[in-house]
């Protein structure tokens, strides 16, 4: 029963990791670069919600969309300042620029909010209830549901709508996309902003169940990165699978080891993938789309 309990917990964490991973994958497919500032966008989402809801007293359902918009705006600024000027630079330069952005954003957050931990207001309730011997927390259940729903929605958008298809076309062949009349510039920016929105939502969902201070972006960014790499940097399904495997692995580590091992799992995963399939991390390769 304890294992089942941890599996449920792992699924909940994992679906959030999957959302963060999806942000990495979207940007990687479109821009050919891993955006290490993705975790920071999650943090921006969480902090925006904290300010709007806890400080300014906006009701949570109004504050969430506004916080998402704020994060999309921040995402746009990041794209404009650090991605666009380096579009033709080599991969390493671009990668390092994203690390620079992440350090910069993290320290701005630290200047504003200090280094203390915040208790994040629960969004969906944190009063546990019992089903048989299982103890369930509404926030965790909602996190799972929202994670899956967003991935499904995104998948639908990318596969079924004209704009979604044009974004995938752009990611696959920019020049051919131009020949179709697709505005490649707008398509790339759109992809970035959507990835930012996903990250922000992930940040808001995970902040109530995590240690939450200015550094949350680094933590959640690493998990999302590990999940994305584990999923093969592939579209929706890969990222989600990677996230859930990582989430469950972390929670099982608690059962069979100690909670101290939990945070090591993401690094172990990264380590293993780097040893076993190093080529997938740095070079953008076209892969089979599995859905």
């Amino acid at each position: 029963m304890q294992i089942l309990q941890q599996l449920i917990q792992g699924l909940s964490l994992g679906s959030i990791y999957g959302l963060v991973a999806l942000g990495y994958v979207l940007i990687y497919q479109a821009w050919g670069v891993l955006n290490f500032a993705q975790g920071e966008v999650c943090a921006i989402g969480a902090f925006s919600l904290l300010v709007l809801h806890a400080e300014l007293g906006m009701p949570v359902y109004a504050a969430m969309p506004v916080a998402v918009l704020v994060s999309m705006l921040v995402g746009y600024v990041i794209e404009f300042l650090s991605f666009r000027p380096l579009e033709n630079a080599n991969g390493t330069t671009r990668l390092i620029a994203t690390i620079g952005v992440s350090i910069c954003v993290r320290n701005i957050l630290r200047m504003i909010f200090g280094a203390d931990y915040f208790s994040f207001p629960t969004i969906f309730g944190d009063t546990p209830f019992q089903v048989g011997e299982l103890i369930l927390v509404p926030q965790n259940l909602w996190n799972t549901a929202i994670g899956f729903a967003l991935v499904a929605l995104l998948n639908l958008f990318l596969k079924k709508t004209r704009i979604g298809k044009s974004m995938r076309a752009t990611a696959q062949d920019k020049e051919a996309a131009r020949l179709m009349g697709i505005n490649v510039r707008a398509s790339l920016t759109g992809t970035f902003v959507i990835a930012s929105a996903l990250g922000a939502i992930a940040g808001m969902l995970i902040a109530p169940v995590y240690l939450f201070n200015f550094n949350i972006g680094a933590t959640i960014g690493t998990k999302g990165y590990a999940a994305a790499v584990l999923g093969g940097l592939d579209f929706a399904s890969g990222a989600m699978t990677g996230g859930i495997i990582l989430g469950i692995a972390e929670c099982l580590a608690v059962v069979f080891g100690s909670s101290e091992y939990q945070s090591a799992i993401a690094y172990i995963v990264l380590f293993l993938v780097l040893i076993l399939k190093p080529s997938e991390i740095m070079s953008k390769k076209k892969k089979v789309e599995k859905v």
């Binding site: 004209r162 298809k165 044009s166 995938r168 076309a169 696959q172 062949d173 020049e175 051919a176 996309a177 131009r178 020949l179 179709m180 009349g181 697709i182 505005n183 490649v184 076209k286 789309e289």
Partner: protein
């Protein structure tokens, strides 16, 4: 319909096209032939708006100056390029590839559906494979898809860059037959770039010979086919 006046293109400091002038009239099939590296692909790419042109160049399309227009704008004016190397979208289905070809016609759903049907009649193989990903097609099928995708924008001028590359003779024949048919039945204007000069001159009304970035000769397709110097240089002698 299309007029290139003194078009100059350079990659960095190296000029690849030296003031070339080409004209394509409405309803014609015009071909540009020449050896590898003569600048044929560069010519088509610069017309399509994928390359910047040097000062003094001028490209007119259907009365509009498109010299400095970007590729995504030029499509809307009624020009489509089936690029060298096909450049189909590998991870999109055949159907989605075609839909992307009609990307700018989203308000004309009925017209797009009709063209999709026509394209499938023209290339039955594509219809059989409509739900397959682009990358799973054979080379010939990919070439057909590239042409079909270009047609989906409902162009006035269709530009084809090396459609015969890497294909079996029978497939090449089929593709040229379809191009000719499009020209005859629909009055589609075609600008064709080919290394396979014999095939190209066989279908073309007129041809230009490009050598080291300059037009060295232009005549009707038939005359070029029978021209001794052309035969020696581009048609395998005798």
């Amino acid at each position: 319909m299309l007029q290139l006046n003194n078009v100059q293109v350079a990659y960095g400091n190296i000029e690849v096209l030296h003031k070339i002038s080409i004209e394509v009239k409405k309803g014609e099939i015009v071909t540009i032939i020449g050896a590898n590296g003569a600048g044929k692909t560069t010519a088509l790419r610069s017309v399509a708006g994928l390359l910047p042109k040097k000062k003094g160049s001028q490209i007119l399309f259907d009365g509009i100056d498109i010299t400095n227009m970007g590729a995504e704008k030029i499509v809307a004016e009624g020009m489509a390029l089936s690029p060298e190397g096909r450049h189909i979208f590998p991870e999109l289905t055949v159907e989605d590839n075609l839909e992307m070809g009609a990307y700018l016609r989203h308000k004309d759903k009925a017209g797009v559906a009709k063209d999709m049907k026509e394209v499938f009649e023209m290339f039955p193989r594509l219809e059989e494979r409509r739900r397959q990903l682009g990358k799973t097609l054979s080379g010939g099928e990919q070439q057909m898809l590239a042409i079909a995708r270009a047609l989906m924008s409902s162009p006035k001028l269709l530009m084809l860059d090396e459609p015969s590359t890497g294909l079996a003779p029978l497939v090449i024949k089929e593709i040229f037959r379809i191009v000719k048919k499009l020209n005859q039945t629909r009055g589609l204007t075609v600008l064709l770039v080919e290394q396979n000069a014999k095939m190209a001159l066989g279908v073309a009304d007129r041809g230009y010979v490009l050598k080291n970035g300059e037009i060295v000769k232009s005549d009707t397709g038939e005359n070029l086919l029978n021209d001794d110097s052309i035969r020696a240089a581009y048609l395998g002698g005798r």
